[in-house]
């Protein structure tokens, strides 16, 4: 149960090795956390994430097997996590960027991106919503992206999955309105993580811990959508109004 200041006791991270999600866990008051579940495919990376959070003073951190693409397993998986105790915050943070050019040549690769980022998220998101609804409280944080605000030549496959996910999350939030369960849609711009390593840095690029602080503050206030950084809301509003011939010619 969240306390009166909106701080959680238990967190489930779907995409348990996501740098932004791990930074978000650390940005909650750590002494309050009693149970943190890092859900991801088994890997040395996941083990290292459990260790890193534990060493940062978070108690009750465990890793658990989860595959976003195996949608058949999602129902039982989410039931297992919630049967062991209420979850106050779920961070839906898995996603892949994919290789746009390779995917254009090999649609199988595009399907993989779509299955993970969209299909998998819709599947597990609905199971999470069902359980938050049953417990009568809790927040689902969906990591969308500004890439979903308007499709761009350089990453429209990834962008289209985030556009779909974003629309899904907004609708889910409206469905759950007034039930005590709440959905926060986060739209980060470029963030310095493994995903963006090697790409040219865009203006307003943030570190993961800055995004994390924005997420935690938005949760305390019960916000429904938040950009990271905040002013990106205006930038994207401007970009969305650009005529396509102009938008197409923008760098990258």
């Amino acid at each position: 149960m969240n306390d009166a200041l909106g701080e959680p006791q238990s967190v489930l991270v779907l995409g348990g090795t996501s740098e932004i999600a791990l930074a978000t866990v650390k940005a909650f008051p750590r002494a309050r956390l009693r149970r943190v579940v890092l859900a991801a495919r088994p890997s040395a990376h996941r083990d290292a994430s459990v260790l890193a959070l534990t060493q940062a003073g978070v108690s009750g951190v465990t890793g658990i097997d989860f595959d976003a693409r195996s949608t058949d397993t999602h129902g039982a998986f989410i039931d297992g996590v919630f049967d062991a105790g209420d979850i106050d915050v779920v961070l839906l943070a898995f996603g892949v960027l994919g290789d746009q050019e390779a995917a254009e040549a090999d649609p199988h690769l595009a399907v993989e991106v779509a299955t993970t980022n969209y299909t998998g998220a819709v599947s597990v998101g609905l199971h999470v919503a069902r359980r938050l609804r049953l417990q009568g409280h809790g927040s689902l944080v969906v990591f969308s992206s500004v890439a979903g605000d308007r499709a761009r030549r350089s990453n429209y496959i990834y962008g289209s999955t985030k556009a779909g996910l974003d629309a899904f999350a907004q609708g889910l939030g409206d469905a759950l309105y007034g039930t005590g369960a709440h959905v926060l849609v986060v739209r980060p711009g470029m963030v310095r993580t493994r995903m963006s390593a090697g790409l040219p840095e865009a203006p307003m690029t943030l570190d993961a811990n800055v995004v994390a602080d924005i997420v935690v503050k938005a949760l305390r206030k019960g916000r429904e959508t938040v950009y990271a950084p905040g002013p990106l809301r205006l930038v994207m509003a401007g970009l969305k109004t650009l005529p396509r011939p102009v938008f197409r010619k923008l760098p990258r």
């Binding site: 009166a4 417990q135 009568g136």
Partner: protein, 454 residues
């Protein structure tokens, strides 16, 4: 059938009086003992809980996903002048009881700062009032009660004898041992409904505390309001006793036992969160302090004015805006009275403005394992939840209070850690054994119980 994701009929979003952390529950009105038994037997996996008038500040009277029993219809009040007792349904409010018995020359044994609580709530939280140093808690005055346990069975409980353990586990048990449906408690005889009040305006905290420690025993009721904005910790001590009828003027004697308080105003539904800030609170506190007489003896006040000034404004909890507020109330033993000043200083430093800061001396604890009061000092301060850095400040105070053998009041708590709760209520395990006997299936639970692993 797959349940809908959206809210369905009968479900309600509930919060405590502080309006923080809402959760959704199915609210089940119960008009009879049979209704209560059925609701308990049919409770789903998220359990059952009785909610009274929702005056606990935090998450004690809510249970996300659970069945919340509303016993307000079970509100019969019977006063027996011969034995000096009242038998009331658990859903009866102290307001209703006072309206019934004050004109007959009787008063509830204990009332907190609001009359808008039920008998069931008074027992569950084991409430205290301005007379704790003389009369103890509400639970101390309960002579017997009827409890529906976790199997839906009826239990008659008394403070001594075979059922004493179950009785005292229910006093202060936050509704987690079962559903109280009826209780009999003793009353204070009255010859008038007025209170004779002495007021002292005191310029600093040390002086306030010294005068309270010295003068308490001379009065049935005593409490101090502290100016939380002033670093001096200045305050106003008000002390009183039920006025004997011969202290009343001829005109007052005509209606010596009258009791008919009315709500004066209702706070607007939407209140801008910035309106209560350091400046407005400072102005209020200054005016409140100045308005009090330096020293006045024997002023006659009504029950409402003396005990329940805030009941005059309906929904006053809205003034803290949409993020809500919390009330931080702790007790520390006499040996740690210095903690009172530290707490006031810390709250002032973090910029937590409070216009309701109340200091009181407690008498000894009663036998109930989870009852809050113990001998020493208790301080209660309202603070808005939106204040930046409040969590860290309160965590620091929590640690200090734990270290000196103090604790927080569960009816006010909305943020302590389970570790602190377990350390500061050392009889928790003993209480849990009794609870497990009363509720072997673990039907009774609340958001508070889940948060604190009770």
């Amino acid at each position: 059938m797959t349940p809908s994701l959206s809210v369905t009929e009968g479900e309600q979003l509930l919060t405590g009086w502080g309006r923080t952390c809402p959760s959704l529950a199915r609210v089940q009105p119960c008009a009879s003992v049979e209704d209560v038994q059925t609701a308990i037997r049919q409770a789903g996996p998220r359990g059952a809980l009785v909610r009274g008038l929702g005056r606990s500040y935090g998450d004690a009277s809510q249970s996300g996903g659970g069945t919340v029993l509303d016993l307000r219809a079970m509100s019969g009040v019977a006063y027996d002048p011969l034995s000096g007792t009242v038998t009331a349904g658990a859903g009866a409010s102290l307001d209703e009881i006072m309206r019934s018995i004050v004109p007959q020359g009787a008063f509830v044994p204990v009332t907190p700062g609001t009359r808008m609580i039920t008998v069931g709530g008074a027992i569950g939280a084991d409430v205290h009032g301005k007379n704790h140093h003389v009369d103890g808690t509400f639970g101390t005055h309960v002579q017997k009660m009827t409890l529906i346990d976790g199997n839906g069975e009826i239990r008659e409980l008394a403070p001594s004898g075979e059922t004493a353990a179950q009785f005292w586990a229910t006093i202060g048990g936050m509704g987690l041992t079962g559903a109280v449906v009826e209780a009999t408690f003793d009353v204070i005889p009255l010859t008038s409904s007025l209170i004779s009040v002495d007021t002292q305006r005191v310029s600093n905290l040390d002086d306030v505390m010294a005068r309270m420690a010295e003068g308490d025993s001379g009065y049935r009721y005593t409490v101090a309001w502290i100016d939380s904005v002033a670093s001096s910790g200045r305050g106003i001590i008000t002390s009183g006793d039920h006025a004997p009828v011969d202290q009343l003027s001829d005109k007052q004697r005509i209606k010596a036992l009258a009791f008919d308080p009315k709500a004066l105003a209702t706070a607007p539904a939407i209140f801008p969160s910035g309106l209560l800030n350091n400046l407005t609170i400072r102005a209020f506190n200054e005016a409140w302090f100045r308005k009090a007489p330096r020293s006045r003896v024997g002023e006659l006040q009504s029950i409402g004015a003396f005990f329940h000034p805030l009941d005059g404004i309906q929904n006053w909890n809205r003034i803290y805006g949409p993020r809500g507020f919390l009330q931080y109330q702790f007790v520390v033993p006499d040996s740690a009275s210095h903690v009172i000043r530290i707490a006031l200083d810390r709250l002032r430093e973090v910029g937590a403005p409070s216009f309701l800061t109340v200091l009181k001396r407690f008498g000894p604890a009663n036998p109930a394992p989870l009852s809050f009061p113990q001998a020493g000092w208790t301080l209660a301060a309202d603070v808005p939840a939106r204040i930046e850095g409040l969590g860290a400040t309160l965590d620091e105070l929590d640690e200090l209070i734990t270290d000196v053998g103090g604790r927080l009041y569960l009816a006010k708590d909305s943020r302590q850690s389970p570790q602190m709760f377990a350390r500061t209520y050392p009889r928790l395990a003993e209480w849990q054994l009794v609870r497990d006997e009363l509720d072997p299936r673990g039907v009774f639970t609340s958001d508070l119980a889940r948060r604190l692993s009770i």
